[in-house]
């Protein structure tokens, strides 16, 4: 609701107009304006407007008269079935309370602020709001950049050369070098220790390799490319021999060895078959 009020109020009042003038535009004897809640920025604004219509200094204003005007405004709005924002009604209730306090002298032993004190608070708030109104008006009427006063129309580019400067100490450099070399050396050793060929690995490699050879080829020859170190040699041979026997059983390869401890030869059975077909 308050938002709606604000945006409505914004429409008729262009920024550069002084709303110091607004008070003159909306005189309270214009009944149409009295109930035009949309024209006001909330209950305090309405109160300020009503106070102005008393045409006296805010410090000498009759609070009781002001309260009565406000309450009358609210009752008129209600008579017209105009829906008032909650804060207008809250203000009305508070003002009614204030009025009762002002009319009935303070009882001895009564707690809380006196009517006069409450009235002073209201007066202060009205004065402060009015001061802000005037200040805003004076502010907008100053010479303003882009309207009255101008900046350089063709600013000259400032070229910024961004440069990074790096620093590192020799110690940083050396510890970075030694650290990574050491790390890497240790990792390598671990890989070597774990270098055991599984049967599955051996079979995969054998399958891939066997297609590359047309004739009987020694197993050693197949594997020489993979046996990088003496420690690995036994595991490679063992695993691949076991794998090759399996492949023979399945009919993929043929295997032969002339005598014990002689080189083991392997050949691709399908390949060999195709070759015999081709020659015959």
């Amino acid at each position: 609701m308050a938002e709606a009020l604000e945006s409505k109020a914004a429409k008729p009042a262009p920024m550069d107009r002084l709303w110091a003038d607004d008070a003159d535009d909306r005189t309270s004897d214009d009944p149409a304006l009295v109930v035009d809640v949309a024209g006001f920025e909330g209950p305090l604004d309405l109160l300020l407007h009503l106070a102005r219509s008393q045409k006296v200094d805010l410090s000498r204003i009759s609070i009781v008269a002001l309260v009565e005007q406000y309450l009358e405004f609210v009752s008129r709005a209600r008579a017209l079935r105009l829906e008032l924002a909650a804060d207008y009604l809250v203000m009305a209730a508070w003002l009614a309370f204030l009025k009762s306090k002002l009319l009935i002298p303070k009882q001895p032993g009564e707690e809380g602020e006196s009517g006069e004190e409450l009235a002073a608070v209201l007066q202060f708030r009205l004065k402060r709001l009015e001061a802000m109104r005037d200040a805003a008006a004076r502010l907008v009427n100053r010479n303003r950049l882009g309207r009255d006063v101008f900046a350089r129309g063709a600013p000259e580019m400032v070229i910024i050369d961004k440069r990074n400067e790096y620093s590192a100490s020799l110690y940083d450099l050396l510890s970075a070098y030694a650290g990574q070399r050491q790390r890497q050396a240790i990792t390598n050793v671990q890989i070597a220790k774990r270098g055991v060929w599984s049967l599955k690995q051996a079979r995969e490699i054998l399958t891939r390799l066997i297609g590359q050879f047309n004739d009987w080829t020694s197993l050693d020859h197949f594997l020489i490319r993979y046996t990088t170190s003496p420690e690995q040699r036994s595991t490679v041979i063992a695993s691949s021999f076991a794998a090759s026997l399996e492949m023979v059983r399945e009919g993929h390869v043929e295997i032969r060895q002339h005598e014990p401890f002689a080189p083991i030869y392997l050949r691709d059975r399908q390949h060999a078959a195709r070759q015999t077909e081709g020659t015959s």
Binding site: W19, E41, F124, R142, R152
Partner: protein
């Protein structure tokens, strides 16, 4: 172009028309520094801070003195050197506004509510949203504050050290620049308002009057700086920097 010629031709006279007598070498250095500062500030559309000037001028230059001299030289020219917070800018002279109307850039007009909130923030900073509402007697819509933040005249300053840690608002150097103010103390009528006790956020009369800080960037005693977490919480990535 006057390349190679570094002599400043203005005859410098004091109020009585007498030539000021100072150490000629220092005088020449200052004049040359003023000339450099002139070039730097003139080249920029935005105000240039004294810190930035000091970085770009030769070492040992008395920047405030150089700027004071320049300001005096341009005092009655068609272009004036004006101070904006701790920065300097050249701006066309105010009395020539009638001549410049043609250059006016169409600016988004602020609503009456927005202007009122702006002045409340300017005169009462640092101020929380609740305090703005107390002064105006009406709720401030989110849109109004957003609009003001968009103009870059208003910024979130910090958080009040009070329950709920509400965000405090204040104005920016852009605000000063736009309204031709050297500093917040130059706000029209601020002294009278202060004297009348109308800038205190709370009643009662005869109350103490808080003085708006002369350096609006300085956090008040009861303010905490905004943290990144705050900003995230508030849905703001970065509050726009006013000085780069």
């Amino acid at each position: 172009m006057s390349e190679g010629s570094n002599v400043v031709p203005f005859s410098v006279e004091d109020e009585d028309g007498e030539t000021v007598k100072v150490n000629p070498a220092a005088r020449l250095l200052l004049a040359e520094a003023a000339r450099m500062a002139e070039a730097i500030v003139f080249a920029s559309a935005d105000p240039v801070s004294e810190r930035q000037l000091a970085q770009r001028l030769p070492e040992g230059v008395d920047v405030p003195a150089a700027m004071a001299e320049l300001q005096r030289l341009y005092e009655r020219r068609g272009v004036n050197l004006v101070r904006v917070g701790d920065a300097w800018a050249f701006r066309t002279a105010g009395d020539l506004a009638f001549l410049m109307s043609r250059d006016t850039v169409q600016q988004k007009k602020l609503s009456r509510a927005a202007l009122e909130v702006l002045s409340v923030i300017a005169y009462h900073q640092p101020v929380t949203r609740a305090e703005i509402e107390d002064i105006r007697g009406v709720e401030t819509s989110k849109g109004t504050l957003d609009t003001l933040m968009e103009t870059e005249w208003v910024r979130m300053r910090g958080r009040r050290k009070s329950p709920g840690r509400p965000v405090t608002y204040g104005t920016t150097d852009k605000f000063l620049d736009h309204f031709g103010l050297e500093e917040i103390r130059d706000l029209p009528g601020i002294e009278e308002l202060k004297g009348a006790g109308l800038l205190s956020s709370r009643m009662p009369p005869g109350f103490s009057v808080p003085v708006p800080p002369s350096d609006p960037d300085l956090l008040a005693e009861d303010e905490d700086p905004l943290t990144d977490i705050d900003l995230e919480e508030l849905g703001l990535l970065t509050p726009k920097a006013t000085d780069d």
